[in-house]
């Protein structure tokens, strides 16, 4: 795809984990947090990244924005390989790519006023802008995210979690970036506030024509906001499809299990449905299973799964799945949401 705003190819992020009690010169173990993932993001599109904790979805996003080191692979933004840039050149892309963080309060400097926090990216990239202009832009932005603009002189601790997240969104959008990465922006908020923030993001995405990567572990939230969804497990991409397609026809056993675990807001149906349980824990990313990384917990695992890393199979259209047996699985135990 050449018209993609962002295209990620074989992205791998590894961290060095020193062996306990090792000498400084012995080679540390490599932890593959993200292990060769691919995706494309068209302008104005929203890609949802889901997966359980430790599946590498945050790390993948952080590699795109430059907070995690890219070990190999390419992150092409607007035709430019971000991984090949020096830190100084990389800083210019702060204008284009911004991020909304998980913990709304921790993402705001407690010693700065809200106005200064929102203005920071603006001052960084347009240092010659007069103070008055900065203030006007900040207040416009606050109004846009649904905050009263007269609160510019307040401090973050005087706001609720949802308001703090709105401040974080205002800061991320003040430069009008083309790509917004939302790293679990709603998982620290309570449900009613979650809905407000998700709808705000959805509205802003439409109004500003943003491309968005939306990370969450809550499938129902991701389904609501995303055009396409990628499912990650242990640093690998398991399945990728349009949001509706993925939720209605999950092909990978892991996706099927995730979707079967989404609660149904109807007690009668909720009681009668079957949940496909996954046994065990996420294996250590220091020693991932051979072949398909999900095989240790997959109810349909067969000996062949331990062999080679599974290829991506096209189910139809843009629906790809990393399971060679996807059309031979027993699907009847699952209920669609």
């Amino acid at each position: 795809m050449s018209d993609a705003l962002l295209s990620v190819r074989d992205l791998t992020v590894t961290f060095d984990v020193p062996r306990p009690g090792a000498w400084p010169w012995t080679a540390p173990r490599k932890l593959h947090a993200v292990n060769g993932i691919n995706f494309d993001l068209a302008p104005g599109e929203c890609l949802g990244l889901v997966g359980e904790s430790g599946s590498g979805k945050s790390t993948a996003a952080r590699a795109v924005i430059g907070l995690a080191p890219i070990s190999s692979g390419k992150v092409m933004f607007d035709g430019q390989d971000l991984g090949a840039l020096s830190p100084v050149q990389r800083r210019k892309y702060g204008r284009e790519i911004q991020m909304v963080f998980q913990d709304p309060l921790a993402a705001l400097n407690p010693r700065m006023t809200v106005g200064d926090i929102i203005a920071e990216p603006l001052i960084t990239h347009e240092p010659s802008l007069p103070r008055k202009e900065v203030r006007t832009r900040v207040q416009e932005m606050m109004e846009m995210v649904g905050l009263l603009p007269n609160l510019v002189n307040r401090y973050p601790h005087e706001f609720s979690g949802g308001q703090c997240q709105r401040i974080g969104i205002a800061r991320a959008l003040i430069l009008r970036p083309r790509l917004l990465i939302c790293d679990e922006p709603v998982s620290a908020l309570d449900v009613s506030v979650q809905a407000q923030v998700v709808n705000l993001l959805k509205r802003l995405q439409k109004d500003l024509g943003l491309s968005m990567i939306f990370i969450a572990h809550d499938l129902s939230v991701v389904k609501h906001i995303s055009d396409r969804i990628s499912v990650m497990y242990l640093g690998r991409l398991m399945e990728q499809a349009g949001a509706k397609q993925l939720v209605q026809n999950p092909a990978h056993p892991y996706t099927q299990a995730l979707i079967s675990a989404v609660p149904i807001p109807d007690p009668e149906r909720e009681k009668s449905r079957k949940i496909m349980m996954i046994q065990g824990e996420l294996p250590s990313p220091l020693a991932p299973p051979s072949g398909c990384v999900f095989r240790t917990r997959c109810p349909f695992a067969r000996p062949a799964c331990a062999g080679d890393r599974p290829e991506y199979h096209v189910v139809g259209g843009d629906h790809v799945v990393a399971c060679p047996w996807y059309n031979q699985l027993e699907n009847s135990t699952l209920t669609a949401v």
Partner: protein, 309 residues
């Protein structure tokens, strides 16, 4: 704004939009907590009085600090005691000079040494520690090993050596105290930086392309400030004690200058000659200053990190 006949809810809402609300910063909250701490407030008051006394006390007495009162010098034990009539409010010290003037001078010198040493530690130590902690890795290792090496040298020995080699002077004393005072501060600042730099607001700044040095100044240092202020306040009395100890050894401040330590040393040497005022007055101000600084420091700590008690 509201008085000019806004009746509709819209008008009121508009007024609320226009008037900017002032926020309560964490500093203001901390000041409120400090004001409620009685011991700290009293100590701050006492400290203020001592400072006023140290810098303006000399105008209350007509004697010159260097003037030796030969009229009384022959019999200090009988005639040199504290008295209002002859203007020697605190009596005479062992050379026959006015102890009141000497004490005022001594407090001034001691507090200046404490404050300047502490300022050096705040500026050098905070920046050093913040840079080491923020950049981490090899930079951090090298910078902190230098601190470790400097800390391993017995500093009292170094100060004494400096004073012996380069001669006793106030400047050398400042150099010696400045050399050691920032080491602990650097460690504390580094430790705090390590926790702050992984907070999301620092990551947000990195992600939006803020330069590392700006991040240190704008995001790291203001969040270190609480701990740094507390430590700096508690460092002042420590430095006063160190200076007094060196002066007590006879190596510190040189005549005709004096410090509280030197005065206490003089007073102690005359203790068995029946002139207790010579040690009593300097010692009183010494202890009062130390206690005041310690209580203020404690109060600041409670006020600045309420979670950290």
């Amino acid at each position: 704004m509201l008085a000019t006949g806004c009746n509709t809810a819209d008008d009121i809402l508009n007024a609320a939009h226009r008037s900017e609300v002032k926020g309560r910063s964490l500093w203001r909250d901390a000041m409120g907590r400090f004001a409620r701490n009685r011991a700290a407030v009293i100590s701050l008051f006492v400290l203020g009085l001592i400072l006023i006394f140290a810098f303006f006390g000399q105008f209350l007495s007509s004697h010159d600090p260097a003037f030796v009162d030969f009229m009384l010098r022959g019999n200090i034990k009988e005639l040199g005691g504290p008295s209002i009539e002859n203007g020697h409010y605190f009596g005479l010290e062992k050379e026959g000079r006015d102890l009141y003037q000497r004490t005022v001078q001594g407090i001034r010198v001691s507090i200046m040494i404490g404050v300047i040493g502490s300022l050096v530690s705040v500026v050098v130590g905070t920046l050093y520690g913040a840079i080491a902690g923020y950049f981490g890795g090899r930079v951090d290792s090298i910078m902190m090993r230098i601190v470790d090496i400097l800390m391993a040298i017995p500093f009292m020995f170094v100060i004494i050596l400096l004073l012996v080699i380069f001669g006793r002077s106030v400047f050398m004393l400042f150099v010696g105290i400045g050399l050691i005072s920032w080491l602990n501060m650097a460690r504390i600042a580094r430790g705090q930086t390590l926790t702050i730099k992984n907070k999301e607001f620092v990551e947000a700044a990195i992600a939006s392309g803020v330069k590392p040095f700006t991040i240190i100044v704008r995001h790291i240092v203001p969040n270190l400030a609480g701990v740094v202020i507390v430590y700096a306040t508690l460092l002042i009395p420590e430095l006063i004690i160190i200076e007094s100890f060196i002066s007590f050894l006879g190596l510190g401040i040189q005549e005709p200058m004096t410090s509280l330590g030197a005065l206490i040393n003089d007073g102690a040497s005359q203790l068995n000659r029946g002139t207790p005022w010579m040690i009593a007055f300097p010692l009183f101000f010494f202890l009062a200053t130390l206690y005041a600084f310690f209580f203020v420091g404690d109060g600041l700590r409670d006020a600045l990190d309420p979670k950290d008690r």
